[in-house]
Amino acid sequence: MDNRHWATCAAALLLLGTSAASAKDLTIGQAAEPSAADPHYHDVSSNNALALHIFSALGVSDENNAIKPDLAKSWKAEDDHSWVFNLRDDVKFSDGSDFNADDVIFTFCRVMNNEGSVNASFSDEVRNFASVEAPDPHTLRITTKTVEPLLPELVAEIAILSEGIVQHGKITFDPANKCGVTGPWPTVDDFNSGKDAIGTGPFLLDKYEHGSGITLSRNPHYFGKAPEWDHVKFVPVPSDGPRLAGLLSGDYDFIDAPAARDIEQIKQRDDLAYASKESSRVIFLQMDIGRDKSPFIETKTGANPFQDERVRKAMSMAIDRKAIVSRIMDGFAEPAYQFVPSTMFGALPDPQPLPYDPAQAKALLAEAGYPDGFDITLHATNNRYINDSQVAQAVAQFLTRAGIRTKLDAMTSSIFFTRRAKREFSFAMGGWGSAAGGAASFLRQYVTTDNDSLGIGASNYGAWSDPDFDKVLIQAIGTVDETRRAELLRQATQMAMDKLGFIPLHFESSLWAFRKGLRYEGRMDQYTLAQDITTAASD
């Protein structure tokens, strides 16, 4: 605690005569450390979650992944290509300057002039903009090159910077001429040092130190509901054991991602509590269907059994999802009968449960010409998803019991992802957290036939292909009307589930643990947001 904190505490103690004063500081032990304070540096959840503390965007995703207005009061699609955003006029940046449309245009330009960034997913969205105009300082018209129904969701991912951080002339959306910026573009270092970390979020960045932690303090200019905390400190503790120990010993008020097996211990203590929330991350099985010969399948005939729909159905029936959820996931998961939770956009509201029926599974296998089963190897990660190697082990045992003799090869994710991308596997267990697009996210990424020009099917490593499905999905992702799009997505999901080109297992639940007296509702995107952590007393 530095001197200022001591002083605050001492003063508050004198005034109140209680120890509750220190409750305004919050220390959070976090599992994954953000790799930069620059919100456009790397599009990963740890960085995006930190950005939501310091910055805000035109829209914001709520705890159920629905997009709500934020810096924009409202938006409307004028036609298939142009959108109008009405910006708030009461917003100030943390340095006191006013927020207006210039800041948004500058941000779009910066995203495209972001040399050191790890991936360009933000700039991809902006590249699709034909023009961005500001008829007045608080109105923005974006015209896109291709139809983009998800525009509000996509711009909600782009944290808005202040144009005051660079030297510039008149700002216009003119990427060829640097949009009017005359000085050097900000770098990742400028954000990590705090110099350019000027945003409209609920907190200010006090200090960002790799490996040691991130300190935030309340932003007095924040336009939304002020967070309860004067100071927040995030401490990176990647290992589960030490992170829990830190909570038990009182070092941390709050930790994210406690191990499910430790929840029992937390329940037994009356000074601790926990929260759980179903996430959008689905764990699923991906089969090599496209190749007639696949490296890790051994059958008598030499054929690829995954190409037979009956075999895929038999595999799904052989797996007891409820047992996996209750025994391995300690109840902190939901059996999955589609690829996104039913509350998400475009999901089936009430999907047909995939039954567990080992007898029927054997019958189906025999019918498909495999009465004696066959031999396969399941490849899985052992450090990426919750209890991934145990889940994969259970899947292998369930399948073996049904006659499909399954060997398990679990490996660290760095090797798994490399090998999977090279299509070295026949049968792999993967995970996918859907965000923008709801049900479309998984379907366009995995289930559609690989189509680079449309940017879909990039993760279809098993080369599953269903032309009828592709037609419906491609229509869906080009439909601006939301009701119609949701309808098409439900239709596409049903088609995918009917043929089971992918076998969903379960949705992971996210967990948080904290000292009693705190409250956190949890979020579907697994983010830990200090502004949403409250004390029980304040409602």
């Binding site: 930069a36 120990a245 490399t418």
Partner: protein, 325 residues
Amino acid sequence: MTLYAFQRLLQSIAVLFAVSVAVFLAVYAIGNPADLLISPDATQLERQELIARLGLDQPIWTQYATFLWNGLHGDMGTSFVHGEPALRLILTRLPATFELVTLSLLVASLVGIPIGLWVGLNDGSRLSAAVMTGSIFGYSIPSFWKGLVLILVFAVWLRLLPASGRGDTIAVLGIPFSFLTLDGWRHLAMPVLNLSIPNIALMIRLTAAGAAEARNQDYVKFARAKGVGSRRIVRRHILRNILSPIVTILGMEFGSLLAFSTITETVFAWPGMGKLLITSIYQLDRPVIVSYVMLVTFIFVMINLLVDFAYAALDPRVKLAERLS
């Protein structure tokens, strides 16, 4: 001496070169960092852009040549994950590890050597046998388990010490140190203890064995016959004679702790270099891994050199041999 130093320098450069080839190839073989960095929903264009920017589209020897050329100019590359110079990333973590390791070895020497000396000189007593047996435990208990037990006892049950982190630091010449604040000491206590326990055991065993052997040597007997006081015999004759192997081991331990106190740093979330190495390996952050190994190799080479010089200072026979050769 100059020739000797020059030879050592050439050897060191050869070692550094060989290590750089080995590490570069090994990390290259593990996997493609682009697959980990780029989210799977990135477009092909995006992937190719990043791969080209990181230089991963080049053949391995071109990548190595670029690395070597930049390395010779003092640029060890930029971290794939953090976008900062790899060497700077490591060096900002160095003081935390340095502090931890130095204090641990200091504790190990101050506790271990006197106890070892006493045990060696009182060979055969019951207490010394007990200390020697105890030291086996101290040396063989796995570090992560010991760390967790320490946390359980001192942080969770007794609530005396914080479970993890570095605590408040005070900067000296711009480098933050924990040992200058009370809070820093509270954070240091457990990791230092955890690292020093096996080294205390090591020091005890090493000193005891040396002392037990030395006290029956002729020069000790002669000194005793001459009427030299027993304190002086221990200090001037026994200790000085057995100090060479102890200093060698201390030097080696210093190097290996500096490089691989990974487990202790992970258990106590100590923001040092070891923790950085582990995360970098998981993320295939090649510039950081390679720079780290190069730096560690460099440190080892330097320590070995210093140990050789320390020998000369401690053991006059080394100086003599030098002069005669």
